[in-house]
Point group: C7
Chain length 254, copies 7
């Protein structure tokens, strides 16, 4: 209770430091990320895999409407977790940066460059008053000079590069799962399988058809491709993740 | 009481995150939506149906004055629930976007594009200081490339695509009603009937003449059409929703 | 007391949502409207009647100085209730909109259009920080395409269309009186009588000469006309509203 | 004490509504008006009289320095009560408006027009944040189309037209005195006498020489004229208001 | 204690009215004036005298550095009391106004005009948010059309004209001394003597050499002249104000 | 607890002084620096060494992604400790300053000049409202006119020049280690060794391969060079810092 | 404790007056000055001496990095005490003013003029909101028209001229020392000796080599000259201030 009162003192008005050097509004924004369903990125020598858990909230909602993976440019995909409306702002920002790069330099933007332009934008919202931080984390994956790259952005505006990473709900368990099962020499197919099995691991090892989005950018095509539901279902079967019992309907997290 | 004190800490000044990653002002704006009477959208292969409960507040008030369904462009209708004056702002915004699209590209704006321009606008009011969020939800329905589309916007600025959806008061019960009674192969007439029966379901199965607005955009005409009171009354009779007892006058919700 | 403390939390600084989705500053502005003496509008097939209770505050004050009914354009009148200085701002705004319409389109502004421009302006003051809402309600009456129209604006920026309506003090009783006595086929004279009798109904059935303003816009002339005191006195006599006892002097409400 | 705490909640930051629809900052500004010594206006068929109580604060202060009546234009005078520095701002504003009118239309500004420009200016300071209301009331008197006009402005920005009126300290008693003694057919001389006797009525029926300013605008000359001390002394003698005892020195009110 | 709490409520943020119509920040600024050592102005038919108590704070401080009397233009001097840095801002403002007047009209600025431009500037800091009031009072003295004029400005932005006046510490006693000893027919020399004796009256009738500044503007020269220390010492001797005991060193007031 | 309450009073809103003349927000930003892992700078006659502890957070995170040493210009490197996103802003700022210098003067920017441009930028964020201070310290090292220079910037915006210095976690112990082991005549190799041994001193004398970044700018090449992991491993072996036990995984500090 | 609460009320947000007319933020800024080590200025007929105590904080820190005396122009030096980063801002401001003066008038800026431009700049930060006051005092010394001048600026923006003065820590004792030992006819050498002995007086009469900076501007050269460490050491020996015991290492004050 006393600690609570202390915390409350730092979350009013603009984003400022607490006596122990923390930015509470940024940490609270990280909580907003945890409230979103998980997205997972896996980097393999053949390309980058983005997968997103989107357990539908209602049978009447179009599954495609819970978009969590977006094309940012021909060679870049972005998956998000957290506050959906904030994610859209950042993805639009990323798209504009990618377009500007093509116009100005006549070539696709580097994945690292793009990530850092996004994180610089995010950082501004943690330092300058008059706005709150972005309550969303992104996975930015693509091909840069023939090499697969996978980055994470967090609400503080820090960029991280990963081999495999999870953002959103149950990050602790998912990251542990990835650490145990990731290998540097995964094929793209194995990468997709790893991502799906990781998501399923938090759901009793099962995945509903249509309950997950998957996209890839391979070194071969250097093109962002979203898998169809049928393609995904094949991977579900292949990886033995078919649900045996569909009674469970999860509460939406946001 | 203690929880109450905690909440109060987050609703002053600008929209900021609470320690558990929530945006209270956005959640309170959702409460404003619930205070409004319900609007319902139903998508059928033949077109989109928008229906709005507008139980009149006084016999002297013009029923047409409680407008809850608006034409946004020839091929798009918008129904609202919540703070009426806020709804008007967003609908005007949507109209301008639709006009700009016609001027710039010489063609009608896509329903998804329009929805996302509206939700991006809404999102800004949840992140940048100096203004409160919009206390209104919208249903945006229309025809895009010959296909019926139905979207919802909420006060956080998130877009959702639906087969059938309810916003405003008693959303829980209404959504349950829709889930139980929706079929993918509804005719437009059946869609109108479903919407009316859903609204009636919260009023002892009865609908007053003039107590509901209905509009459609069909794939055939690609035109927003508001039903006349007489046309609506036919549907009321057809669906056996005539009031047997008119003593009840509801308190206005707003 | 506890509820009081809770309310106080929402009325500082800018206009924001309370946990139950209400905008307290807007509700308080509605209280400011109730503090003003009543204005009444009555729509008849022959034209619109605006009447305003302006019981004079002092024998030395010019009755004309307590203006509550104003000409907005040749064919539009506006009556107000609430904060007088705020009313003047909105009426000036309405006049400018009407003039702009004539300049731009060469024709009189529609009553509905004018009302919505005014309510959009009011809404801005309830959403954007740095100013308080307008503490005033307006009745906007006039002729549009040969048809009498009567609108109300409230401090939230919502427009309502009415057959007969009261704003300001004792709205509850007055609205009930109007509902009981209004008929769709009133003549203009009967409409004036109804408005005067309604105001008198809150004052023991009596009306002082000079204690009320009346204006009309008829379908015949499409012109805003203020009745002279003599003309009003005739209606007072005709409707048997002469005061029998003038001892009572009311406290000013504002 | 509890009521006090409640009031305090509304007087911080900008001018906002209290739960009962009041604007406390405006009401407090009215208190600032009451803290100033009285000014009185009397309208007679021959012209308008402005008189101001300016009991000198120190024998070393120049009486002319406590200016409370000012020429706004050839045909308009303004008397004030309340916060002196605020009064100067409004009087400068009024002068500029009068000059602009002469430049733009080649004719003297109407008294009603001038008053309303001033009250519109005052109103802005009660609605838009970042400044406090004006703590002053004005009497604006002059000749418009050959007719004497006398207006009051208050801190809310409401204009009132009067036959005779008092602003500032002891308004209640003074207004009562005016109501009892005013007649519509006063000569200008009688009007001056009434104003002086009213001021004297709050000072045991006595007026010091030099303790009051008087100015007139007559229909004959349509010119603002300040009376000399000798002229005022004649009226004091004529009206039998000479002090019998000068021991009393009043505390300055501001 | 309770009164204290009440006061505290009004001195945060911008300058606003208290429930009894006072502007606490302005009153607190007046306290800042009282914290400064006294300045005195005396108007005689031969010219205006400005004198300032500047008891030096340290033997190592240059007495000239505690400037309290400044030349504003050839014919105008300004003495100050209160917050020294604020005084410099206002004096710079006054100098610019005087220069602009010479440039624009080719003639020296009137003393009254100059004073009112300064007080209008001061007033703005008491009404518009984002800055505190000026914590300083000024005496503005000079010759206008051959006539000596002496004005005071206070932190509210009110101008006063005086025959003789004191600002700063012990104003009550000093003003009483001036009232008792001022005569309308003082020579300039007598005026200087009166000012010095008044200052000495608060210091056991003694004045240190170098502990006071004196300046004059006479009708003969219409020029601001600062007296040398030797000249001042002659007046000290002439008026029998030599210190008999120099042990006392006063604490600086600011 | 009481001291705590006192502190809380100074960390809301903008950066202001506490009664004892401290800037709490700046001190809290220094705490943010301490939360980051250490960076170390060592200046030798042969060149400047920058070393950064970057114990990896997860085996799946790319070690290169936890960048803590950056090239600011050909001849300047910058190491950081504290809030990573803030560091990126300042490093970008430094790069732009270095580029501008080359464009404007055709020569490399001086290390002292660059440092002071950065600290002036940092200072602004501690004085002007609307933003928080930077939560990061930098080490800026390079060659200026053939001489090695090593500067530190802190969150207050103060520049310090050092022979050897540590920023970030455990600064106290590390600085003590440097003071005990630094010699003015270190070779560059010895300087690298000193930096690595200092970092290892806080980790039981051990350094993981890949757990540290090292860069140098030598007087010979005047070029920023990052050591490869293999090169660093050689130094680890040379200095006998190989880990004997890798069980320990540190929690990330930020 | 109660007094403490009272103080806290005045140090939030912008700089405002306390009920007793004080500006707490300015007074707190003066505390920041006291937290810095002392600087001393001594004016002799031969020139101005500036000396600064800079007891080094660490053997690894470059003594030159703790700059406390700066050249502002050829003929002007500035010493500071207090918040180092704030000092740099003001010194940069002073340099720009000096340059502008040379460009505009082709001659060196006067010491008094320069001082007042600096204090006017400082004053703005104590009156206008949105920034805190400068937490630093300056000594500005130089030659103006062949005459040595020595000024102090404080955080309120007040300029003082001195024969000899101390700013920063232990001002009380140091000023007393200066008052006791200053003579108007000091040679420059004696002035340097006085400054060093004063600083030593607070350190048991001892001065470390390199623990003090000294600079002069003489009437002969009119040039700012910093003494070398060797030159300073000679003065230390000459004045018998060599440390007998170097065990003591002072904690840095800032």
């Amino acid at each position: 209770m006393q600690g609570q009162a202390q915390q409350q003192a730092y979350d009013r008005g603009i984003t400022i430091f607490s006596p122990d050097g923390r930015l509470y509004q940024v940490e609270y924004a990280r909580e907003a990320v945890k409230r979103g369903t998980a997205s997972i990125g896996v980097r393999t020598p053949e390309g980058v895999v983005l997968a997103a858990d989107k357990r539908s909230r209602s049978p009447l909602m179009e599954p495609t409407s819970v978009e969590k993976i977006h094309k940012a440019d021909d060679h870049v995909g972005i998956a998000s977790a957290g506050h959906v409306a904030d994610a859209r702002q950042l993805i639009d920002f990323a798209r504009r940066q990618a377009q500007v790069n093509r116009l100005r330099y006549g070539e696709p933007i580097g994945i690292e460059t793009l990530t850092k332009e996004v994180t610089d934008h995010i950082q501004q919202y943690t330092q300058v008053g008059g706005a709150r931080p972005f309550g969303v984390a992104l996975l930015i994956g693509g091909i840069e000079n023939g090499t697969p790259r996978l980055y994470e952005t967090d609400p503080s505006g820090t960029p991280y590069e990963w081999k495999a990473v999870s953002i959103g709900a149950e990050r602790g368990d998912l990251q542990e799962y990835l650490e145990e099962n990731y290998r540097d020499d995964l094929t793209l197919d194995e990468g997709i399988g790893l991502a799906l099995r990781a998501i399923a691991s938090t759901n009793e090892g099962q995945l509903e058809s249509g309950g997950v989005d998957v996209a890839t950018v391979t070194t071969e095509t250097e093109a962002f491709v979203e898998l169809t539901n049928d393609e995904i279902d094949e991977y579900i079967v292949e990886n033995d993740l078919e649900p045996t019992d569909e009674d469970e309907t999860d509460e939406p997290a946001e």
